[in-house]
């Protein structure tokens, strides 16, 4: 009995170490079995990078691209530590981060891979269909609290925002609020899906979301940044007429080479650009 249990324990250990060894092999066989790179970062870029990686690997058997989310900051930290080949971000690297990278012998190089439009959304039953930058800012910092102050019905505005770990939150705070704090009574939603859901259900709500998330259940407002109201359509975002559009980046350590270069070039290829549009972003 004792011996048999020893035997099973030994077998288990052998199997486990084989599994570990095998896992190690998969991670390291970029030299012999095939090439592999690792991409990590923004959850906004994640669906795009995943779709691109799938098409790319389908076209190029034996080459592997692994995509990991976690947030822009997480991806940048991993690039600085030399853990990944490419960091994907929905914002430019901060000066501190670039400095940290240089101190670590990493020389981050920025590549714009696509554009994302941020839309301001309301319930389809809301008669408002356009707002100026100043009006949106006034609503979000707390100067305006009723829809009738911006030309709508007499109804208290329910202001929705993302949480502070979202790249979209930071973008909105910088671009629309010009660095001011969000109003204290804004409802903080843990995901873009939850913002869309709430806007769908609430006639008084206003929120913001990436254009890729839009459906017929919510109404995207035309935004006027001083040069006339512009709808968040593909043409307006690509031409730069729509004011709330941001680039999505890949960062590499120095000039990309090998598989890094191939993957980045693939995204701007015809097939890659089609994929960008399919996911809901706009080719760079």
């Amino acid at each position: 009995m004792f011996k048999r249990s020893m035997l099973s324990v030994t077998t288990l250990l052998v199997v486990m170490s084989l599994a570990l060894f095998g896992a190690g092999c998969v991670g390291n066989n970029s030299d012999d079995g095939g090439e592999a790179i690792m991409v990590k970062g923004s959850d906004t870029v994640l669906p795009l990078a995943q779709a691109e990686a799938e098409v790319f690997m389908n076209e190029n058997p034996g080459k592997y691209v692994s995509i990991i989310g976690g947030g822009s900051g997480v991806g940048i930290a991993a690039l600085i530590d030399g853990e990944v080949d490419i960091a994907m971000t929905s914002r430019a690297m901060k000066d501190v981060e670039i400095e940290n990278a240089h101190n670590n012998g990493i020389n981050p190089l920025q590549h714009t891979i696509a554009w994302d439009g941020i839309s301001v959304i309301v319930n389809p039953e809301n008669p408002i269909s356009e707002l100026t930058f100043e009006q949106i800012k006034a609503i979000y910092v707390g100067d305006v609290s009723n829809w009738n102050e911006v030309g709508g019905e007499d109804r208290e505005i329910v202001v929705l925002s993302r949480d502070s770990s979202s790249g979209t939150y930071e973008y909105f705070k910088d671009e629309v609020l010009e660095g001011n704090e969000f109003r204290a009574d804004a409802l903080i939603n843990p995901s873009t899906g939850s913002i869309i859901q709430t806007v769908m259900q609430n006639k008084a709500a206003i929120g913001y979301a990436g254009v890729a998330y839009l459906g017929n259940d919510v109404k995207a407002l035309a935004v006027d940044a001083g040069e006339g109201a512009e709808e968040p359509t593909a043409e307006n975002i690509l031409s730069g007429a729509y004011p709330l559009a941001r680039p999505l980046y890949f960062y590499t350590d120095g000039e990309p080479a090998g598989l890094n270069l191939e993957f980045i070039e693939f995204i701007s290829s015809e097939l890659g650009s089609e994929t960008v549009l399919e996911v809901g972003y706009f080719p760079a």
Partner: protein
């Protein structure tokens, strides 16, 4: 013989070590939590943290006031308890005393299934069903309120309260019940004059465990309460959006730079949460012990 003794010893030591791991892990966790939290108080005073009325972690200078979050947690939990305790105890009485054993056997697994539903599913249900319902019924500007959180948490605390209270009622000695019935009281009189008082400490333990479950819940609350860090009025704050301590940690931990003030502030909130649940568990434990003594007497 001595070989066997050695083997027994070895097994005993191995088991001691495994159970020791739990204590060591808890101990390390505490040290980590409190050390990281304490680092906040280099620049911020403890008083301003505990009595601060605004939570603006990303403005400059940042404000880390615990009160809105603590009040948010308390009001959501209080609401959950008000809703779930009467329901839970009533269900426990029915299942333990009144229901046909066959019906009780059907009910029991359903209550257990309720406990097994992941919190994100509760949250989704709350967001899609309860929030719009509250919004329309009470004509509120938004249904994402403390009340929505209370309803969901109440639902989630129900299985804990029902099963612990049911056990408490079941372990009331049969002699007490028989004595009461023999004296001519009706079944209902027996239930609320004899069985409930006898099971009271067990039922209190059930309530405390339910509170513990509610105050630590994160995902569901985060999805339905709106997460607005404003001190709610009592009781009208039940109809306003609130932010709990757990939701704050979950929302903000994602991208906070490690080692920053904000990072330490979140750990300090975690420490407060830990102390709160620890006290609740202590109370639950002591009422449970009291209950056991009564049973022996």
């Amino acid at each position: 013989m001595s070989r066997r003794n050695n083997k027994e010893k070895a097994i005993e030591v191995a088991l001691l070590m495994t159970s020791g791991v739990t204590i060591v892990a808890l101990f390390l966790l505490c040290i980590f939590l409190f050390r990281e939290g304490a680092l906040l108080f280099g620049d911020h005073s403890l008083v301003s943290f505990i009595t601060g009325t605004s939570w603006y972690p990303s403005s400059s200078p940042a404000k880390f006031g615990l009160l809105p979050l603590l009040a948010g947690s308390l009001i959501v939990t209080a609401g959950a308890i008000i809703l779930s305790v009467p329901l839970g105890i009533a269900a426990a009485i029915y299942m333990a005393e009144l229901a046909d054993p066959r019906i009780a056997q059907i009910l029991k697994p359903f209550v257990e299934i309720l406990a097994g539903i992941p919190s994100v599913v509760y949250g989704f249900f709350g967001l899609i069903v309860v929030v719009p319902l509250l919004q329309d019924l009470l004509s509120l500007p938004t249904g994402q309120t403390a009340l929505a959180g209370s309803i969901m948490l109440g639902m989630m605390a129900l299985p804990t309260i029902i099963s612990v209270a049911e056990d408490a009622i079941n372990s009331v000695p049969l002699s007490l019940k028989e004595g009461s019935l023999a004296l001519g009281s009706t079944h209902w009189q027996t239930i609320y004059r004899v069985i409930l008082p006898a099971a009271l400490s067990g039922i209190s333990a059930a309530v405390m465990l339910g509170i513990g479950r509610a105050i630590g819940e994160t995902m569901t609350v985060m999805m339905v309460t709106g997460n607005t860090a404003i001190i709610p009025g009592i009781p009208e704050g039940l109809f306003d959006p609130v932010r709990t301590m757990t939701a704050t940690i979950a929302l903000e931990m994602g991208e906070v730079p490690q080692g920053s003030e904000h990072f330490h502030a979140l750990f300090a909130v975690g420490a407060v949460l830990f102390i709160t649940t620890f006290i609740i568990n202590l109370i639950a434990d002591s009422v449970k012990k009291k209950y056991r003594l009564q049973e022996e007497a």
